[in-house]
C-alpha cells in the first residue's frame, strides 16, 4: 500500500524524471561524455547547441557543461540521499525512544529538541565545516573525505523534523494492543524497540526520506555555493550554479552557465517537492483535493 504507484500524474511525472536522472547519474562514467574536469582554454565559453556549439556549451575554463551537469547530478543526488539517511538514522531512533518511553524521558528528549531548534543550525554547520577544513589531513588518513564529513553535517542539520515524526508515530504505536501485549508478556525496552517499534516505523521512514530529500539537496547547493561544500575537481549543481553566477557579466552572454545547472536543480527540487507533498498527504491520511 505504501509503495503503490502515486495517483496524481504530476507525482508520476516527477518520479519518472528522478528515475531517469538517477540512472544517468549512475551510469555517467560509461556514457560517451567529455571529461568534466578537463580544462581547455581554447574552447572557453562556447555557446550551447541551440546557438552553435557543443550540446550544452562549455564554461569559462572550456569544460563541457553537459558532462559537468551529469557528473554534478551524481554528487548532488548522492549527497541528498546519504544526507537524508543520516538524518533518519539519527532522528528515527531518537523520536522512537521518546515516543516509546513517554513520561520523563520523552519530556527530556523533546526539551533538548526544542533547545536545538532555537539555534540557527545552518550557521553552526557553516562553522563546523570551516573548522573541519583544517583537519582534512587527519580525516583523509582515516578514509574520510570532505564529502563524507559533509553528509554527516547535513544529516545533523535535518534530523529534528524526522525525530518529531517518529515520536508521534511511536506514541501511537505505544497504545496499540499488540505492543501492550508484548509489554505485559515481559518484553524489555530493547526487545520492544527492535521487534515492534523500529519495524513498524519503517513506512514512516520512507515518508521522512521524501520530506528530507529536497531540503538536503537544497542545502548542498547552498553550502557548495558558499564554498563550504563540494569542491573541485568534484562537481555538484550548487557549485556549477556558483560558477555560473561568478561568470555572469553584462558584456558576455553567458547566462546559460547559471541557467542550465539552475534548471536541473530546480526541476529536481520540484520533483522531490511533489513527491514530498504526496508523502505528506499519506502521513496526514487526508487528501486535500
Amino acid at each position: 500500500m505504501m509503495l503503490a504507484l502515486p495517483r496524481r500524474w504530476s507525482t508520476r511525472l516527477a518520479l519518472s524524471f528522478l528515475l531517469v536522472l538517477s540512472m544517468l547519474a549512475v551510469v555517467a562514467p560509461w556514457l560517451p561524455l567529455a571529461d568534466p574536469a578537463a580544462i581547455a582554454p581554447q574552447d572557453r565559453l562556447q555557446n550551447p547547441a541551440w546557438i552553435d556549439g557543443p550540446v550544452l556549451g562549455t564554461d569559462a575554463k572550456g569544460r563541457d557543461l553537459l558532462a559537468r551537469v551529469i557528473y554534478g547530478a551524481r554528487i548532488s543526488l548522492a549527497v541528498g540521499l546519504l544526507g537524508s539517511l543520516v538524518a533518519i538514522l539519527i532522528g528515527l531512533p531518537y523520536g522512537a525512544l521518546a515516543g516509546m518511553r513517554g513520561g520523563r524521558t520523552d519530556r527530556l528528549l523533546m526539551r533538548i529538541a526544542d533547545f536545538l531548534e532555537g539555534i540557527p543550525l545552518a550557521v553552526v554547520i557553516v562553522f563546523l565545516l570551516s573548522v573541519l577544513q583544517a583537519y582534512r589531513g587527519e580525516l583523509a588518513a582515516i578514509g574520510l573525505g570532505r564529502i563524507h564529513v559533509f553528509f554527516l553535517a547535513v544529516g545533523m542539520l535535518f534530523w529534528l523534523p524526522t525525530a518529531r515524526i517518529a515520536r508521534a508515530e511511536a506514541l501511537r504505536l505505544s497504545k496499540m494492543p499488540f505492543v501492550e501485549a508484548a509489554q505485559t508478556a515481559g518484553l524489555g525496552s530493547w526487545g520492544l524497540m527492535c521487534q515492534h517499534y523500529l519495524p513498524n516505523l519503517l513506512p514512516s521512514a520512507l515518508v521522512m526520506l521524501g520530506l528530507t530529500l529536497p531540503r538536503v539537496v537544497l542545502m548542498e547547493a547552498f553550502l557548495s555555493f558558499l564554498g563550504l561544500g563540494v569542491e573541485a575537481p568534484n562537481v555538484s549543481w550548487g557549485l556549477l550554479a556558483a560558477d555560473g553566477l561568478a561568470a555572469m557579466n553584462p558584456l558576455v552572454d553567458s547566462g546559460y552557465l547559471l541557467g542550465i545547472p539552475a534548471a536541473f536543480l530546480a526541476l529536481t527540487l520540484l520533483s522531490l517537492n511533489l513527491i514530498a507533498d504526496a508523502a505528506r498527504d499519506r502521513i496526514s491520511g487526508v487528501r486535500r483535493n
Binding site: 540557527p120 529536497p214 547566462g255 486535500r288
Partner: protein, 306 residues
C-alpha cells in the same frame, strides 16, 4: 514564574551554550588566523598571539571571552586587528536587519493573502495556479532567483544596482529574492491552515446561525487560521537568516551573513563567535515575538504576558 521569564531564561541558556560551543569549536581548529598565505616573522606572530591572549590556558581564555560577551564586547577581530567585533556587528546588523525585516514583511504580505485566497477559491483554477506557483518557487534556490534577477533587472533593464549596500535601491532586489521562497512556504501553509478551519465545524455552525458569508470568512475562517501561520514565524525567521547568508554574498551587501562567511573562511574566531551569538539572539527574539503574537490570536495558547 511567568511564562515570559521562563522563555527569557531559556534564551539566555541557549545563548550561553552557543557561545561556549562556537568558542570551543574554533579553539579546536588547527592553525590560527595568523598563518595565512604570507607567513609572519616568528617574533611578530609571538607578539600577536600574546596580544590576543591565544597562549593563555583555555579556561582563562574562555572566561575572558565570556565576561566580555556578557558586557557585549567580543574582543578585537583577529583579522582586522584595529577593529572591535562589536563595531563590525554595529555596522553589519542594520544592513541584515533591514534586509531580513523587509523580506519578512514582503513574504507575509505576499504569502498569507495568496494562501487564504487559494483556500477560499478551493479547487478552482486560481487555487491550482497559486499552488503550482508556490511549489515552483519553493524549488528554486534563492541564489538562482538572485542570479536571474541581476541578469534581468540590473544588467538587462538597469533598474537596480547589481551589488553594494548604498541607498535603498540596492536593497530592493535582495529583499525580493530573499522573500520569494519564504512567501511560497507561507502561501502553502496559510492555505492548508485555512482549509483545516473551513473543513471544521466552526464556519458551518456560524453559517447555520445565519451570519453573513463575508462575516464568517473574516471572523470564523481568517482569524483561527492565523494561529498556525504565526506559529510558523519562528522557523520562517530561521529560514530567512539562513537565506540571507547567501543573498548578502550574491549582492555584496556588508551584512552579518557576508561577514560571517568570510570570518568562517578566514578563521577570524572572535568575529565568527560574535556573529553566531548575534544570530541566535535574533532568532530567539523573533520566535518570542511570534509566540506572543500567537497567544494574542489563539486563546488556547499559554499567554506570554501573564
Amino acid at each position: 514564574m511567568s511564562a515570559l521569564l521562563r522563555r527569557l531564561i531559556a534564551l539566555a541558556i541557549t545563548l550561553w551554550a552557543v557561545h561556549l560551543t562556537t568558542f570551543l569549536l574554533l579553539r579546536a581548529a588547527k592553525g590560527g588566523p595568523f598563518d595565512e598565505a604570507r607567513s609572519l616573522p616568528p617574533e611578530v606572530e609571538v607578539q600577536l598571539r600574546a596580544e590576543f591572549h591565544l597562549d593563555d590556558p583555555l579556561l582563562q581564555q574562555y572566561l575572558r571571552a565570556l565576561v566580555g560577551a556578557l558586557r557585549g564586547d567580543f574582543g578585537p577581530s583577529l583579522r582586522y586587528r584595529e577593529v572591535r567585533v562589536t563595531e563590525i556587528l554595529g555596522d553589519a546588523l542594520p544592513v541584515s536587519l533591514g534586509l531580513g525585516l523587509g523580506a519578512l514583511v514582503l513574504a507575509l504580505l505576499l504569502g498569507i493573502p495568496a494562501g487564504l485566497y487559494a483556500a477560499l477559491a478551493q479547487r478552482g483554477p486560481v487555487d491550482g495556479l497559486i499552488r503550482a506557483l508556490a511549489t515552483l518557487l519553493l524549488s528554486v534556490p534563492n541564489f538562482v532567483i538572485a542570479g536571474l534577477a541581476i541578469a534581468w533587472f540590473s544588467f538587462g533593464l538597469g533598474w537596480f544596482p547589481p551589488a553594494g549596500g548604498h541607498g535603498l535601491s540596492s536593497f530592493v532586489l535582495p529583499c525580493i529574492c530573499l522573500a520569494l521562497p519564504t512567501a511560497a512556504q507561507l502561501t502553502r501553509l496559510s492555505r492548508s491552515a485555512a482549509l483545516e478551519v473551513i473543513d471544521g465545524e466552526g464556519p458551518r455552525a456560524a453559517l447555520a446561525r445565519g451570519l453573513e458569508p463575508n462575516q464568517v470568512r473574516s471572523q470564523h475562517v481568517l482569524k483561527p487560521a492565523l494561529a498556525p501561520i504565526l506559529a510558523f514565524l519562528g522557523p520562517t525567521s530561521a529560514a530567512l537568516l539562513t537565506g540571507s547568508l547567501v543573498i548578502e554574498q550574491v549582492f555584496a551587501l556588508p551584512g552579518l551573513g557576508t561577514h560571517f562567511v568570510q570570518a568562517a573562511l578566514n578563521r577570524d574566531y572572535t568575529l565568527a563567535v560574535g556573529i553566531t551569538v548575534c544570530y541566535t539572539a535574533l532568532l530567539g527574539a523573533l520566535t518570542l515575538l511570534a509566540d506572543w503574537a500567537m497567544s494574542r490570536v489563539d486563546p488556547r495558547v499559554e499567554a506570554l504576558s501573564g
